[in-house]
């Protein structure tokens, strides 16, 4: 019985990879929409927010896993929030030290990483029940999936909304930018388009298997 359970237990690689595709926080679980919509107006902002969130996810996951046996259930949420907020504060200082322009562009959304529900979600659903290394891998995978999704949105919104990518002009002076895409409403439209595309590819194997099963 134990051997079977061990055989079925996901490997550390699975814990990392699942956040990229099967449990992608933006395209599958649709969590953390506030920064996803607000900070994906340029590829640079999206990438920076994704990396900052990944850092917090990985380190807070490891820290919460490390203290899980010492934290009574009654005070677990308060403890997790204190740990997450501490890493977010450290990230905010690091971004200010790296680039004031980037800090200016991300604005209040760096501090709001604290209330990003996917971070508390991973803490509660995974890190509080698993070991330090796999919790860190789970955080890294979820963060990588979040970064990938934000980069997808940021790239489309910047190219079509501003005619640039990472600030580099792509089209000539005749290009008329689709300003709507860099506005908040453009975030919703771009997210919807990516969700349709993502789900099309995600459900394709099942759709292909259906006619064969019917035969």
């Amino acid at each position: 019985m134990n051997e079977a359970a061990e055989r079925d237990a996901p490997s550390p690689t699975d814990e990392f990879v699942k956040g990229l595709w099967r449990e992608n926080p933006v395209f599958v679980t649709v969590l953390g929409m506030c920064p996803t919509l607000a900070v994906s107006n340029t590829a640079r902002n999206a990438l920076a927010m994704g990396l900052a969130t990944t850092f917090v996810l990985a380190l807070s996951g490891a820290a919460i896993s490390a203290v899980r046996r010492f934290v009574p259930p009654q005070v677990r949420i308060a403890t997790y929030i204190v740990i997450i907020a501490s890493f977010v504060t450290a990230v905010e200082y690091a971004i200010q030290a790296l680039s004031l322009d980037l800090h200016k562009a991300l604005g209040a959304f760096i501090a709001l990483i604290v209330v990003n529900c996917q971070i508390l979600g991973r803490a509660e659903a995974f890190a509080s029940k698993n070991g330090v290394v796999v919790s860190m891998l789970d955080g890294l995978g979820t963060g990588a999936g979040f970064t990938l999704a934000l980069a997808c949105l940021g790239t489309v919104r910047e190219i079509l909304g501003s005619g640039t990518l990472f600030g580099v002009e792509l089209f000539g002076a005749g290009f008329q930018p689709w300003v709507l895409l860099v506005l908040p409403s453009g975030g919703f439209f771009t997210l919807a388009a990516w969700l349709i595309l993502f789900n099309y590819f995600k459900t394709r194997p099942a759709r292909r298997a259906e006619p064969e099963a019917a035969r």
Partner: protein, 230 residues
């Protein structure tokens, strides 16, 4: 039929274990924050100083160096050697020969979303604003935030009239934003379509700051001559 058996009561968590978890986590996290702050502080301060220096030289075209002056005792300017410690300050820009190009003045006011903090250069010789840069703004991306980068809007502040009234305590013509394409006077700002409130806020901030600082600068202009060495 047997009666359902109630689950055994969970062992109560002692107050001490909760206290230990919260205080222990808080102490370690506090240490983490202080460490991150101490490590990054010198770099953050250097970044801020460099950003301000770049902005000063940008709003004072032709300036090669700058020096910060504090308004002391409500009557005179003095070069500032250390931190401002709450004193109101301006930044004088000097050309390669050491002559005064102008004075960079900070101003803050309400925009569409939040406060806008900007820096503008004032040339006492011509009584004009000669450059402007937005230091902080949270205006709407794609609309209000055009005041940061729109070349036509920023060109308004290359030669903007801020001459003082004969009374010496107000501008002869307050700076005001007008609709795009309707600028007629030297003290008017050609606004940005789609960023009307932000354009108007920029003009109002310049008027407000100029009304406070220009009489002071004109009253003690000698303080800035020769790089501030009286």
């Amino acid at each position: 039929m047997t009666a359902p058996v109630a689950p055994p009561p969970a062992s109560p968590t002692s107050a001490w274990s909760m206290y230990r978890a919260l205080v222990g986590t808080g102490a370690v996290c506090g240490l983490l924050i202080v460490t991150a702050y101490q490590i990054t502080l010198p770099r953050i301060e250097r970044n801020k100083a460099e950003a301000l220096e770049r902005a000063i030289l940008q709003v004072l075209p032709g300036a090669a160096t700058s020096r910060t002056f504090a308004w002391v005792d409500g009557q005179r300017f003095e070069p500032l050697a250390g931190p401002a410690r709450g004193l109101p300050v301006v930044h004088a820009g000097f050309d390669a020969a050491g002559a005064l190009v102008g004075v960079a003045i900070e101003g803050v006011g309400m925009g569409y979303q939040d406060s806008i903090r900007l820096l503008f250069g004032y040339a006492p010789a011509t009584e004009k604003v000669i450059g402007l840069q937005v230091l902080e703004s949270k205006e709407t991306p794609g609309l209000g935030d055009k005041i940061l980068v729109d070349p036509n809007f920023l060109a308004n502040f290359a030669q903007l009239d801020v001459a003082m009234a004969p009374s010496g305590d107000a501008l002869a013509n307050p700076v005001r934003a007008v609709k795009h394409g309707e600028k007629r006077e030297e003290w008017e700002v050609d606004g940005i379509t789609g960023a009307t409130i932000s354009s108007r806020a920029g003009a109002d901030i310049v008027t407000k700051s100029a009304t406070v600082w220009l009489p002071r600068i004109r009253a003690d202009l000698a303080a800035f001559s020769a790089g501030g060495d009286r």
